[in-house]
């Protein structure tokens, strides 16, 4: 096992876990039930201070336990809080190469079913990493419209991915 594995960002692990289960409602439901139950036990005052980190931290713990229960995968990390960002490390990508590729293909198929404006905005913002302001001037749309299209496009992709496992 690589030495660096222990430092692998577990937020990325959570993402992979969930991404694979977009189409598997039952697992995601079980996970969400447990995360929800634990969220309710956290004091609001604590939760409100950094809700996203809390949520992702709890979810990461629950995913770990879920895997241990199912004995699907070995767990090699531990931490109290998930990172509040996407994991883009090469190592994380290499970890689940097959499923990464599969997800990419599904995403790409779904992308082509979106209206042109939605495709354009996603490519500018996500693929090319432009800020909303930059994307707005590239597409000739307002920043407000860019933001709206990102929200809509993501929601449509989610529905499309759930419909075509």
């Amino acid at each position: 096992m690589l030495a660096g594995t222990a430092f692998r960002d577990h937020a990325g692990d959570l993402q992979r876990f969930l991404a694979r289960r977009v189409a598997h409602a039952q697992d995601a439901d079980d996970l969400a039930q447990e995360v929800f139950a634990r969220l309710l036990r956290v004091r609001d005052a604590d939760l409100v201070r950094n809700p996203l980190s809390y949520l992702l931290g709890i979810a990461t713990h629950v995913v770990r336990e879920f895997r241990q229960r199912k004995q699907h995968e070995q767990v090699l990390y531990d931490s109290d809080l998930a990172e509040d960002r996407c994991d883009r490390s090469d190592e994380a990508a290499a970890q689940g190469m097959a499923e990464q590729i599969e997800l990419r293909q599904r995403l790409d198929r779904a992308l082509q079913q979106l209206p042109p404006a939605h495709q354009l905005v996603l490519l500018l913002v996500k693929r090319d990493g432009l800020s909303y302001t930059e994307a707005a001037s590239a597409a000739g749309l307002s920043v407000h419209t860019i933001e709206k299209y990102v929200v809509e496009a993501r929601a449509r992709l989610r529905v499309l991915l759930a419909e075509t496992p």
């Binding site: 959570l14 969220l39 409100v48 693929r127 590239a138 709206k148 929200v151 809509e152 929601a155 989610r158």
Partner: protein, 359 residues
């Protein structure tokens, strides 16, 4: 497609938009946002699930099209086409056909509204068991009723709703609403305006209460449209039906099927026509305004439903100009930019008002 399937799908889409909106909000959340986010999460495990899935999808999007197979230029060309006028026809001498209303387009997949999270959400418990729901200028709202029916309110709209043992009753007091009715043969679903009563058992239809009457468009299934008042005796051309089909008679009942639209005037005349592009019927759900050969007066009227400060047309010859195009309802500037490129028109700002006139 079974109604329950399409309704489930619609709700899934609404939840997805809501979760996607939260992913966006949490990119740069204020303390107030964080509080609302926590409250939303604690509403239901489903919100937790939807948010986590949406966020992981958002992260996965960073690997989108890594081979860069998609051409931005090709997409930009397509998008430009969608937001500029497709045609500009010289104004006809006579007033243009009045039967063209703004077409709302049905995009079942795309549902773009401010979504209300709570399932049984009641705004104002009202008189006699009616509950009122209202949207402000530019606001849209979708909610589910206790019977499973889903109601979407367009901008500047108001409904009063009562679910009783034997009837489900909706009064459209203002504006426009799309109804996706849960099937229940024992409890008809009635939507009324001053002009007409629309009866459905389980179906999907749009009702728009306009200044000059009520327009009913059916997306799925069948509805019966009954004129609310007996029509007065024929009183000359003023009361003639707009499209010339079907003379007004006392309290007519007309049956409408999918892709049909009925216009009911205040006088009780009903005209029915086929809607070629049923996909246009509820474009407002995406806050998109679609016009096909419509007068500037009609186009600006629709934009103004979404605007606190209206666009005004001044002088003669402006209102009658005919355009086609697809616009973002939130972005009235896109319309003004298009109009400003028309050499015949002048677009001027006076304080918060915008004036359009012939040069």
């Amino acid at each position: 497609m079974a109604l329950s399937d399409s309704k489930t799908r619609e709700l899934e889409a609404l939840y997805a938009v809501e979760a996607s909106g939260w992913v966006e909000t949490m990119r740069h959340a204020s303390p107030g946002d964080e509080m609302r986010f926590v409250a939303w999460l604690k509403e239901s495990p489903r919100n937790v699930r939807d948010f986590l899935l949406m966020r992981s999808l958002d992260c996965a999007l960073e690997t989108l099209d890594t081979e860069r197979l998609h051409s931005l230029e090709a997409l930009i060309a397509k998008v430009d086409q969608r937001v500029s006028p497709l045609t500009l026809r010289p104004a006809p001498g006579a007033a243009p056909a009045r039967s063209r209303r703004v077409r709302w387009a049905a995009l079942a997949a795309g549902i773009l509204v401010a979504v209300v999270g709570a399932l049984f959400w009641y705004a104002h418990p009202g008189f006699q068991g009616f509950h009122e729901f209202e949207t402000a200028t530019g606001e849209q709202r979708t909610f589910e009723l206790e019977d499973g029916s889903v109601v979407s309110l367009n901008t500047q709209s108001r409904v009063a709703i009562r679910l009783a043992a034997h009837v489900r009753e909706v009064r459209l007091l203002r504006g426009e609403a799309l109804f996706h009715v849960a099937h229940d043969p024992s409890r008809p679903f009635l939507v009324s305006t001053d002009d007409a009563v629309v009866q459905a058992v389980g179906t999907q239809f749009d009702v728009y209460r306009r200044d000059d009457g009520t327009v009913v468009a059916v997306l799925e299934g069948r509805v019966n449209v009954t004129t609310a008042l007996p029509a007065p005796a024929a009183s000359g051309s003023a009361a003639a039906p707009v499209a010339g089909r079907g003379a007004p008679r006392a309290a007519a009942v007309r049956s409408l099927g999918a892709s049909q639209e009925a216009q009911v005037s205040h006088e009780g005349s009903v005209s029915i026509r086929e809607v070629n592009n049923v996909n246009d019927t509820v474009a407002w759900r995406e806050r998109r305004l679609i016009f096909r050969d419509q007068t500037l007066e009609q186009i600006v009227g629709e934009f103004n439903r979404y605007r606190a400060h209206p666009i005004r047309l001044e002088g003669s010859g402006v209102s009658e100009r005919v355009y086609s195009g697809v616009f973002d309802a939130d972005d009235a500037d896109s319309l003004l930019q298009v109009l400003a490129r028309d050499p015949a028109l002048a677009v001027e700002r006076e304080g918060e008002a915008t004036l359009v006139r012939l040069r």
